[in-house]
Amino acid sequence: MLALAAAAGLVRPGEAFAQQWNKAAFETKSVADTLKALGGSGSTESAQIQITAPDIAENGAVVPITIESGIARTQTIAILIEKNPNTLSANFEIPEGTDPFVTTRVKMAETSNIYAVVRADGKYFHAAKEIKVTLGGCGG
């Protein structure tokens, strides 16, 4: 019964807001190091991960990104920005019953590749996309 409840993702008393934040992963400064800190030893490029984002962002402070994974048993979706001071931007945990799909907005310091890293059935997969960050307005 307990095992079943856990498998179904039911929350046990006292656990509801037990927060953890992977400090080591958020302090990494390269895609390889982030992957390691997230617990992966390697990652396979996958065409089943779709990144929807503009090719050009008018402003790096707000860059909309949608990631959708077609990989069965997707458990987490992470967003990495290669040229940012800290590579890891976000890591979403996707329980069963929730679509392996998430939209958010990130800051980009400069034109860079962004990586979507998916953990599915314990294995790591990724896709990448370049987003150009332009200077808008009259400049400074």
Binding site: W21, N22, V62, N84, E93, P95, G97, F101, R105
Partner: protein, 105 residues
């Protein structure tokens, strides 16, 4: 205290579509103020979304999520009239919880 979130949750077929805006500075810790002093990092670290006692999404965020964060996702198993609850906690321990009733499609 932080301003309330703006949450929209509505049915899309058999799934609940959730969109949320949060009011937060999301300071990187790298920005300098007008006097040249570094503004300390201040950002949401954890987000948890629950429905009927079950976590339907949880996230860890770093400093590069945009100011006034936005998030959109979908989950199965919700019905109109039921509640979706979203909580966040930031690196200074400030937190905020808001809920919304799922509307029909």
């Amino acid at each position: 205290m932080a301003d309330p979130m703006r949450i929209r949750a509505s049915m899309a077929g058999d799934k609940v579509e959730v969109r949320v805006l949060m009011s937060h500075e999301m300071e990187t810790g790298l920005r300098k103020d007008a006097k040249g002093a570094v503004v300390p990092a201040h950002f949401i670290q954890n987000v948890t979304v629950t429905h009927a006692g079950k976590t339907v999404l949880s996230a860890q965020w770093g400093t590069s999520i945009s100011k006034n964060p936005f998030m959109h996702f979908r989950f199965k198993g919700g019905k109109p009239g039921e509640k979706v609850t979203i909580s966040w906690v930031d690196n200074k321990g400030e937190r905020r919880t808001d809920e919304v009733v799922i509307s029909g499609g």
